[in-house]
């Protein structure tokens, strides 16, 4: 791999990270990673109407309520963030 390629890939990655929160990076911790996955999943559930309907049938709630529940869950999908270790 040439040096210019590596530079190129890095800049692409940076671009992606700027554009999409969920891209991830080398220093991501377990909690952030899990939160990204959960939020992506909920976003997909809300975005795909058939899936949302499918969930709302299973839960016997209205589609509007189901959407609201998922949006609320996106706030803190994995609970509060762990306390940072002081270094």
């Amino acid at each position: 791999m040439q040096a210019s390629d590596r530079f190129n890939i890095n800049s692409q990655l940076e671009h992606l990270q700027a554009k999409y929160v969920g891209t991830g990076h080398a220093d991501i911790n377990r909690f952030e990673w899990a939160v990204n996955i959960q939020r992506d999943s909920y976003a997909s559930y809300i975005g795909h109407y058939p899936l949302l309907s499918y969930f709302s049938i299973a839960q016997n709630e209205s589609i509007g309520r189901q959407r609201y529940t998922f949006m609320q869950k996106m706030l803190l999908p994995c609970g509060l963030p762990p306390e940072r270790e002081e270094e």
Partner: protein, 990 residues
């Protein structure tokens, strides 16, 4: 949910924030105005009220201090509230009022039309259009106001109300929606020509069983018995200018009956018709006279009652007749054609005679083109399997213009003229053309395009309609010409949105038909079948299916058919609802409370309304208002035996004590003591949050009594999980209970465990069995192929899938192949490679030794995915079925969004090549509106494999003509050929 408040001249601007339980008005530099959303009195305290849809409407008819607009907000329970804002001067809002308006089914979106209608797009079930009767000016309705908002120690004081019948809205028209299809079975229970599709649709109180048949629905206007068996029927006007038909003429084998159409249809004798002979044709000739053709001549009845008679010479009789308004051609026995024209005085004149080589099978004259005196084309069908087009022009009269040879002798011919349409009412865009349709004795309908100048026939298409030779009749539909084809069932050929559609009618076999127009029925059809005269109309043009709806009580889960007894068994279950008994009790309590409350306020009008409500019975009001909610860990469920023919429920067992049914199957155990039994898998106290848990699961075994019409519980067997899948296997019962596959045998008091395999990943959701193989579908991990070894009494997995699939539907295709659908909207076929399959079958240990050496948890063999397609909708049921007789089988699927689709297998490589090229061109030249890449969409989760998107290919006719030609050129074909191919393919499926 946010709702914008218009600013400027219309209102104060700002926004309504619909939070749980509250509506808050917010604007920049404006204090919040907050009001509580009224709650239903029977709502459990733990539940909030959420707004799910909203609409805004500007109106003048409000109180003077209010802004001239109001909002309609619908809650998740279906109640609509009217929100008005009080003007506090200087664009300030001093008060926000929420008033109960009406209750309709929960909508995804509501829209107020300027013409005084409300359209509600329901989230499940039929959509509806409502008309406003009032705008909620009644002061008796519950109001929650920001001014009277009370804050107590426990939060804000709630406002309660009771839902009532519609007061401000009237339902005008529904739009049918199948959403959501929970289960589907295709079967020919009614022994009709094509199978019926039984779908379980909807949710909760709006759920239903819908029986769908291919074809258009027919609404019957009248049936009357005739004295004898009629052979033909016509309708005729007295004058060209008349709007409605004047007579119905019915011909019997030796007489003709004339009925006059007025307020009622009555027999008349002074019409001038010859009633002692059968008729061959009756029609309007010239401007105001009627022609009756009988075997011995033509009777021409003038307006003033004079009749002229043309007699055949000698013993020859008239065999066939073809006519339009100005021309008549008769065929005599032996094959002589005699041609008549109407001259300027309205007299019928013989013009030409022509001898054909043999008897004439049928003939028809094209309609007179606008502005012309005659039509040029006469089509004559002969028994030597040909159709000849003869010219009727004076200079080359009776010259053959073209010949078409057919596969069998034609029985009936019809010219159908299609008027040119450019961006017409239906948005269609097509040039004028003339079609010649021929019903052949083999039951095939052939349709060709006639060149309007030269008379040459081209672009022949044919379709098998039924076992009888189709007879063709012109009728009028939507002020356009259409064609009725009567074979062993009636078909309707008509133009809809620029497409020619040929659709069966869901009606009886008919013998003869004619269009019918009267005061009561503008565009009807009068027909004869057996001894009856039937008048009907065809509605809802453009639909492929017509449905019969049978309402159900709770969300239907699964359906089994009993083909022999022609009965259905349905299981229904609902979470967070009350049983019928509890509901009844709650309802009573509520009304008592309401009535005492109203006595105090002295509102009599409301009481009457409530009284009616009570009388109305459960089903209707529930469908409208929804079930009252209860705690989320409550379940209600029932097992229902239905007779689909009558729509009656013959047996309904409501499960008690928080038990809910999830799976069902019929099973024949080894000892044939009881015959076919019904197994139902249930769970008690199932909860999804915080973690899936349940008190206990059961498998119920029921016995059919009373010829399958009712059920009796034999015994219940307790199991540790939810039995989500049940299947009969070699005279025993296979049950998937969580990750365990277990084989049960029937005992006296309970089921007896015979064998089990606990090594399935998450939870078994489907089991199919074929010979000694068992195909198990996991909720998350796709298919597992298992075998049962009887001698060692062992179940083991010999193959599984390498892809995680969240299965929602599965279907067994053949020994090595399964079709499945996953939660993310993909459909796929998984197949065990042939060599692996052979190896497994030949191995005396059946791969068991290898299985025991299993590595890394997976099975030894892997199935391959041979077909892959992203449908974009969660498929809930799959089935293999042939929807048209002789059309071959296809995979029919039903989805959560209420769509029924089909996958059809190509049989020739040529077709595959052709359609994949067409698809490729369509992808390039017809990008979707939103700019997504078609290939990327169909490959959203897995790359699309060996599936062509028929929907995309069918958009070909909608392309502009030059683009169509360009694509056709690249495919080395003409656009017509491509259309023909598309039509042929469609005809194979439906």
């Amino acid at each position: 949910m946010l709702v914008t408040v218009p600013g400027g001249a219309d209102g104060p601007s700002g926004v309504l924030v619909c939070a749980e339980n509250f509506v808050i008005y917010k604007n920049q530099g404006h204090p919040d105005v907050r009001a509580v959303i009224p709650r239903r009195a029977d709502l459990p305290a733990e539940r909030g009220v959420l707004i799910v849809s909203a609409a805004m409407h500007k109106t003048k008819n409000l109180k003077p201090e209010e802004f001239k607009l109001f909002f309609l907000l619908q809650t998740e329970y279906g109640d609509i509230f009217k929100v008005t804002l009080t003007d506090g001067g200087g664009d300030r809002v001093s008060e926000l009022n929420i008033k109960y308006f009406d209750t309709i089914a929960v909508a995804v979106s509501i829209c107020v039309l300027k013409s005084g209608f409300l359209f509600a797009a329901s989230e499940f079930g039929n959509h509806a259009l409502y008309q406003f009767k009032g705008i909620g000016d009644d002061d008796n309705d519950v109001v929650a106001s920001s001014a009277s908002l009370m804050e107590t120690e426990e939060g804000f004081q709630p406002v309660f109300f009771l839902p009532r019948r519609l007061k401000n809205l009237v339902r005008i028209d529904p739009v049918e929606s199948l959403m959501s299809i929970m289960d589907m079975k295709v079967s020919n229970l009614f022994e009709e020509e094509t199978p019926q599709i039984f779908t379980l649709c909807g949710r909760g109180p709006r759920s239903s069983l819908r029986i769908m048949r291919t074809g258009l629905a027919v609404s019957e206007m009248a049936v009357s018995k005739l004295p004898g068996i009629p052979s033909a029927v016509w309708t005729v006007k007295k004058n060209v200018m008349d709007e409605f038909d004047s007579y119905i003429v019915v011909s019997f084998t030796n007489a003709t009956l004339v009925l006059s159409i007025g307020e009622t249809v009555e027999e008349v004798s002074n019409s001038g018709f010859l009633d002692t002979a059968p008729s061959l044709a009756v029609s309007l000739i010239g401007d105001d006279s009627i022609m009756q053709v009988h075997p011995n001549g033509i009777r021409h009845i003038r307006e003033d009652g004079r009749t002229n008679e043309w007699q055949t010479s000698g013993k020859r009789t008239i065999a066939k007749v073809g006519s339009n308004r100005l021309q008549v051609v008769i065929a005599l026995n032996g094959g002589e054609l005699v041609y008549f024209e109407v001259d300027v005085t309205g007299q019928l004149m013989e013009v030409e005679k022509h001898e054909m080589s043999g008897d004439v099978a049928c003939l028809d004259i094209a309609p007179v083109p606008k502005g012309r005196l005659r039509s040029r084309f006469l089509a004559v069908g002969s028994y030597d399997n040909t159709i000849r087009i003869l010219s009727l022009d004076p200079d080359d009269c009776m010259q053959t213009l073209s010949i078409q040879s057919l596969s069998s002798a034609p029985e009936s011919l019809l010219f159908l003229e299609v008027q040119a349409s450019v961006g017409g009412e239906d948005g269609a865009d097509h040039p004028a053309s003339l079609f010649l349709s021929a019903g052949l004795q083999s039951g095939v309908l052939s349709r060709t395009v006639v060149d309007t100048v030269t008379g040459l026939l081209s672009d022949a298409r044919s379709r098998f309609l039924g076992l009888k030779a189709p007879k063709l009749f012109p009728i009028i539909l939507g002020r356009k010409c259409a064609m009725l084809c009567l074979s062993s069932r009636p078909w309707l050929g008509y133009i809809h949105q620029g497409h020619f559609l040929l659709t069966p009618l869901s009606y009886e076999t008919l013998e003869y038909a004619a269009s019918f127009s009267s005061d009561q029925c503008l565009e009807g059809v009068v027909s004869v079948s057996g001894e009856a005269l039937r008048i009907f109309t065809v509605e809802r043009l453009g639909e492929t299916f017509n449905q019969t709806v049978i309402p159900l009580r709770y969300t239907p889960r699964k359906l089994v058919l009993q083909p022999k007894r022609k009965l259905l068994v349905v299981i229904e279950s609902d979470q967070g609802a009350l049983t019928a008994k509890e509901r009844e009790a709650a309802r009573k309590e509520c009304f008592e409370a309401a009535q005492t409350g109203e006595n105090a306020t002295g509102s009599e009008d409301q009481m009457e309304n409530d009284g009616e409500d009570e009388d109305q019975g459960d089903s209707l009001s529930d469908e409208h208002y929804g079930y009252p909610k209860s705690e989320s860990d409550k379940w209600v469920s029932c097992i229902r035996v239905l007779d689909p023919r009558t729509g009656n429920t013959t047996c309904l067992l409501e499960l008690q004590e928080n038990e809910a049914a999830f799976s069902i199957c019929t099973v024949n155990f080894h000892d044939k003591e009881y015959g076919t039994l019904l197994a139902v898998g249930t769970a008690k106290g199932l909860q999804f949050t915080p973690k899936r848990s349940l008190t206990v699961g059961f498998i119920h075994i029921y016995r059919f009594l009373d010829d399958g019409r009712s059920l009796e519980l034999l015994h219940k067997t307790q199991v540790e999980g939810v039995p989500l899948a049940l299947c009969q296997f070699q005279g025993r019962l296979l049950a998937g209970i969580g990750p365990v596959l277990r084989l049960y045998d029937l005992g006296k008091r309970r089921l007896l465990r015979k064998c089990e395999n606990k090594s399935f990943p998450i939870s078994i959701v489907s089991i199919h069995a074929y010979r000694d193989r068992i195909y198990v579908g996991d909720i998350q991990e796709s298919f597992h192929y298992c075998k049962y070894r009887r001698d060692e009494n062992q179940l083991y997995i010999f193959a599984d899938d390498s892809v995680p699939r969240w299965l929602t539907a599965s279907y067994h295709i053949d020994f090595d192949t399964m079709a499945g659908a996953d939660k993310f909207g993909n459909i796929f076929f998984a197949r065990l490679p042939q060599d692996v399959s052979d190896e497994v079958e030949e191995d005396p240990t059946s791969g068991k030794i290898k299985w025991e050496q299993g590595k890394l948890n997976g099975a030894l063999n892997k199935v391959e995915e041979i077909v892959q397609f992203h449908v974009g909708d969660v498929i809930t049921s799959l089935q293999k079925a042939a929807l048209v007789p002789g059309g071959g089988e296809c995979i029919v699927y039903g989805t959560v969004m209420g769509c029924v689709g089909a996958l059809h297998a190509f049989t020739s490589r040529d077709d595959v090549d052709f359609f994949s090229h067409l698809e490729m061109h369509m992808r390039q030249d017809n990008p979707p509106l939103c700019g997504r890449d078609h290939m990327a969409y169909r490959s959203a989760y897995f790359p699309v494999k060996d599936v062509l998107d028929g929907d995309l290919c069918e958009q070909f006719p909608t392309l502009p003509m030059d683009l169509q030609r360009k694509i056709a050129d690249e495919l080395d074909r003409t656009p017509g050929e491509i259309l023909k191919k598309l039509e042929e393919l469609r005809n194979k499926i439906i």
